[in-house]
C-alpha cells in the first residue's frame, strides 16, 4: 500500500481555475439564491457549459466511448468548486452517481447499451441514479420490481432527477435504463435549495436491462459518490471559512474589527485546522477512487465520516459568526448551511460510515 498522491496536479489546478472562473461569472451566490427559489432551480445552461465546454461530465468516461479518460481525482476537483459555489447543477446525480454506475457495469461486462449511455452522458446528456440521496452503499437499496422489462415502484428524494433524460433504475440485481418521459418525476421541497430532489414513480415503465450486476454497480456508484461528496464538503467548508474571515475583517464592533477578537480567532483557527485534515482525507478518497486502491472503502469512509461533520461545523460557525445577517434570507450563507446539512445525510450519515468503517478496520466484534 503506497502513499496516495494528495497534491493537486498541474492539470487539476488548471481545471479548478476554469471551473472557478465559470462559476464566478455565472453562479455568484445572489444569482444562485434568486434561481433556486424560482420555477427552475437547476441552471441547465450553466450545466451545459460546465458539462460540455469545460468537459466536467466526460472526465471519468474512457476515451473509447467519447470521454476524456481522466479520473475521479479531477471529478473531485470539480466537486470542490461546485461546493464552494453551491451551484445548482446536476453534477452529483449525473456526472458522478449515474456515470460511476455505468462505468462499473462496463468494467464488469461489455454491453453496447452501457457504452452508448456513457457516450450520451459524455456528450452532455443528464442522467440520474434512481436511489434516495440518503442511500448508503452498505445499506438497503430501494425496492423497484421488474416484471420482465417493465418496472414498477416508487423512489423518494432522488437527486437531480428533475433534469435527467435517462433514469438508471436498480431493480433486483439489475440496472435498467428508463427514459425519463416514461416515469413520473415529481419535484419535492428540499431542505437544500440548491440540490433539487424528486420522487420518481414507475408504473410498468419500460426499462432497458443493462448487462452485469446492477446492484454491485449501484453500490460502487454510491461509494464513489460518497468519496466525491467529501470534496464537495471541503469546498462548502472552505467557502464558509473564507467568507467568515473576510466578514470579520471588515466588520467593526467595539471600535475594533470583529476578527481581532481572540475567541473568534481561535474558533476560526480550529476550523481551518479541521479543513486541513478534511482536505487530506478527501484527496485520499479521490486518489483511491482514481487508482482503485485496495483500501478504497476505508479511505472513502474516513473522508465521509470526517468531511460531513466539518462542512456542517463550518456552515454553523459561519451563520453564528455572521450574527444577525447570517440569519437573513438575503445573505447566501444559509444556502451553504442547508447544503452542508443535506450533504451530511447524503450517501449515508456519518454514523453509518463509522459503523461500517469500524468493521473494516477491525474495531468491531
Amino acid at each position: 500500500m503506497s502513499d496516495p498522491d494528495l497534491l493537486y496536479s498541474d492539470v487539476e489546478v488548471d481545471l479548478r481555475a476554469s471551473v472557478r472562473a465559470l462559476l464566478a461569472d455565472r453562479a455568484d451566490p445572489a444569482a444562485v439564491l434568486a434561481r433556486v427559489v424560482g420555477e427552475r432551480p437547476l441552471d441547465l445552461d450553466l450545466w451545459r457549459t460546465l458539462a460540455v465546454d469545460v468537459g466536467a461530465a466526460s472526465l471519468p468516461v474512457p476515451e473509447d466511448v467519447g470521454g476524456q479518460g481522466a479520473g475521479f481525482r479531477e471529478v473531485a476537483v470539480v466537486a470542490e468548486e461546485l461546493g464552494r459555489a453551491v451551484a445548482p447543477v446536476p453534477f452529483l446525480g449525473s456526472a458522478v452517481l449515474a456515470t460511476a454506475a455505468l462505468l462499473h457495469l462496463r468494467d464488469q461486462q461489455d454491453d453496447p447499451r452501457t457504452a452508448a449511455l456513457l457516450t450520451r452522458l459524455a456528450e452532455g446528456a443528464t442522467a440520474a441514479l434512481v436511489v434516495p440521496l440518503s442511500a448508503f452503499h452498505d445499506g438497503p437499496l430501494p425496492a423497484v420490481a421488474a416484471d420482465g422489462d417493465a418496472l414498477t415502484g416508487s423512489v423518494r428524494s432522488v437527486a437531480d432527477a428533475g433534469a435527467a433524460e435517462v433514469l438508471l433504475v436498480p431493480a433486483g440485481d439489475a440496472l435498467y435504463a428508463v427514459e425519463a418521459s416514461d416515469a413520473v418525476v415529481r419535484p419535492v421541497v428540499p431542505l437544500d435549495l440548491t440540490r433539487p430532489l424528486s420522487d420518481v414513480e414507475l408504473s410498468a415503465a419500460p426499462g432497458v436491462r443493462l448487462a452485469g450486476s446492477g446492484a454491485a454497480a449501484t453500490r460502487a456508484a454510491l461509494l464513489a459518490g460518497a468519496g466525491i461528496l467529501a470534496s464537495e464538503q471541503v469546498g462548502v467548508a472552505e467557502w464558509c471559512l473564507d467568507t467568515t474571515v473576510a466578514y470579520l475583517k471588515e466588520r467593526y464592533q467595539f471600535g475594533r474589527p470583529l476578527g481581532s477578537f481572540q475567541a473568534l480567532k481561535h474558533r476560526l483557527a480550529d476550523l481551518w485546522q479541521e479543513i486541513a485534515l478534511a482536505r487530506a482525507a478527501a484527496r485520499a478518497a479521490a486518489d483511491a477512487l482514481a487508482t482503485g486502491a485496495e483500501d478504497l472503502e476505508v479511505l472513502v469512509l474516513t473522508a465521509q465520516a470526517l468531511c460531513a461533520g466539518v462542512a456542517v461545523h463550518a456552515a454553523e460557525e459561519a451563520v453564528q459568526l455572521h450574527g444577525g445577517i447570517g440569519m437573513t434570507w438575503e445573505h447566501p450563507v444559509h444556502l451553504f448551511l442547508k447544503r452542508a446539512k443535506a450533504d451530511e445525510i447524503a450517501l449515508g450519515a456519518p454514523g453509518a460510515h463509522r459503523t461500517r468503517l469500524a468493521a473494516l478496520v477491525g474495531l468491531a466484534g
Binding site: 440518503s134 421541497v189 430532489l197 467593526y252 464592533q253 471600535g255 477578537f261 450574527g323 434570507w329 454514523g351
Partner: protein, 396 residues
C-alpha cells in the same frame, strides 16, 4: 390600605374581583380593566398603575387563582415586549404623565409595543448605534434604520434608542424615546429569515417626529435607560417549571421513538447525552426559580441561555440527521409572517434552522460569555479602544 404581603391577602383580593366581575359574564376588555383597577395586573407595580406595591412573588398566586377561575388573561405572549421590556423601563424612568398614559393600554394589550434598538451596524455593540435624533422645537426628528424588530407591523408604540450627540463617546450620546409607530416617517418592512418566514422586521425611520414629551429619561442617558430594558429581557424566565422532556428534547425524543427501525446504538448514545444535558438544564431552571423564590437569584440564568441555545441546536441537528431521507426535505419555503414564534413548531428542518437564532437573539452567546467571564468570574476586561473616542470618530 397597606400592601398585601401574604398569599392569603391577595387571594382575598382576587376573590373580591371575581365576585364583582364574574369572568363568565364579563366582557374580556372590561374584566382586564377591572383587574387593572384592582391592582392585580402586576402586584409589584405601584397602586394606581395596576399594582399594589406587593412582593413580585405574589403575582404567581394571582395568576393561578384567576386561571383556575377561567378568567381571561392579557395574552402575555402576544405583548411580551411591552410587558417584559417597555413596562419596567417606563416604570423606572417615566414621568407621571408617561406612566398614566402608557402602562394601562400596554398591560391590557390594547396597545402593542415593539423595540427599536438593534441596527444593521450595531448588533452586539448596541452602543455603536447610528440612528440620529435631532432636536427641532418641541420635537425630535429621527432618521435611521432599525432591524430585528418583532411585532413592528402590529405595534402601536416602540421603545427607541437614538443618537442625540455624535461628538461624545458612544455610551454618552444616546437618548431613549417612546416612538409612535403610526408616524408617517416610520416604515416597516418584513425581514425574511433562513427558515423562509418573516418573524421580524426592518424599520426605516425617515424624519420621524417624536415629541419631547415622549423622551424617557434625560437627554444623553439613553444607555443607562436601555440597560434597564435589557436587564429585564435577560431575567425574563418562565414562572412555571418545565416538565421532564419539555421543550426540544421532548420533540426529538418523540421523533426517535416514532422510528425504532432507524435506531442505532451510536445515535442512541448521542441522544442520551443530549437528554442528560436537557434534564440538567431543566433542573437548573428549577433551581433558579427556587433561588428567585428565596429572593436570592444567582447568575445561572445566563448559563441557562447558553445551554439552551447549544442544546436546541444540537438536538434539532440530531433530529434532521436521524430522519435521514425525511431530513432531506423541508415543509414549505413560502414566506409567511407567523403571529407567534414557536421554536418547536413545523418540521425538523424548520426547528434546525430556527434554532440557529437562539444563540444570536437576545444577546449572542459570545456576548453572554464575555458577561459571564467579567461579571460572574471577575476576569479582567480586554483592552478597550472605543471608550473615549467620540462616536463620530469610531472606526466602522
Amino acid at each position: 390600605m397597606s400592601a398585601p404581603t401574604t398569599p392569603g391577602q391577595v387571594r382575598d383580593l382576587v376573590a373580591d374581583l371575581l365576585r364583582e366581575h364574574d369572568p363568565a359574564t364579563t366582557d374580556r376588555r372590561a374584566f382586564l380593566e377591572a383587574r387593572w383597577a384592582a391592582g392585580l395586573a402586576w402586584v409589584n407595580f405601584p397602586v394606581g398603575l395596576g399594582g399594589l406595591g406587593a412582593p413580585r412573588a405574589l403575582q404567581a398566586v394571582v395568576d393561578e387563582e384567576l386561571a383556575e377561575a377561567g378568567a381571561p388573561d392579557n395574552n402575555p405572549r402576544r405583548i411580551g415586549i411591552g410587558l417584559g421590556m417597555a413596562a419596567p423601563t417606563i416604570l423606572a424612568f417615566g414621568t407621571d404623565e408617561q406612566k398614566q398614559r402608557f402602562l394601562r393600554p400596554l398591560w391590557t394589550g390594547e396597545e402593542v409595543w415593539c423595540q427599536l434598538f438593534s441596527e444593521p451596524g450595531a448588533g452586539s455593540d448596541l452602543a455603536a448605534l447610528g440612528t440620529r435624533a435631532r432636536r427641532d422645537g418641541d420635537d425630535w426628528v429621527v432618521t435611521g434604520q432599525k432591524v430585528w424588530t418583532s411585532t413592528a407591523h402590529t405595534a402601536r408604540w416602540a421603545i427607541l434608542v437614538a443618537r442625540t450627540d455624535p461628538d461624545v463617546p458612544k455610551h454618552r450620546g444616546m437618548t431613549y424615546f417612546l416612538c409612535d409607530m403610526t408616524d408617517p416617517g416610520v416604515e416597516v418592512r418584513p425581514l425574511r429569515q433562513i427558515t423562509g418566514e418573516a418573524e421580524f422586521n426592518e424599520v426605516f425611520l425617515t424624519d420621524a417626529r417624536i415629541p419631547d414629551a415622549h423622551r424617557l429619561g434625560a437627554v444623553g442617558d439613553g444607555w443607562k435607560v436601555a440597560q434597564t430594558t435589557l436587564m429585564n429581557e435577560r431575567v425574563a424566565i418562565g414562572s412555571r417549571a418545565v416538565p421532564r422532556e419539555g421543550g426540544m428534547i421532548g420533540v426529538v425524543a418523540d421523533t426517535w421513538r416514532a422510528h425504532p427501525e432507524r435506531h442505532t446504538a451510536e445515535a442512541r448514545d448521542r441522544l442520551t447525552r443530549l437528554w442528560v444535558e436537557s434534564e440538567a438544564l431543566r433542573l437548573a431552571g428549577i433551581r433558579l426559580r427556587q433561588q428567585l423564590a428565596h429572593g436570592a437569584p444567582g447568575p445561572e440564568g445566563s448559563a441557562m441561555k447558553l445551554a439552551f441555545a447549544r442544546l436546541s441546536q444540537a438536538l434539532s441537528g440530531f433530529e434532521v440527521e436521524f430522519l435521514a431521507e425525511d431530513g432531506l426535505r423541508y415543509g414549505d419555503w413560502t414566506m409567511v409572517r407567523p403571529e407567534l414564534v414557536d421554536f418547536l413548531g413545523r418540521d425538523a428542518g424548520y426547528r434546525y434552522l430556527r434554532a440557529k437564532g437562539n444563540s444570536i437573539e437576545g444577546g449572542t452567546s459570545e456576548v453572554l460569555r464575555n458577561i459571564i467571564a467579567e461579571r460572574v468570574l471577575g476576569l479582567p476586561s480586554e483592552p478597550r479602544v472605543d471608550k473615549d473616542l467620540p462616536w463620530k470618530d469610531l472606526p466602522r
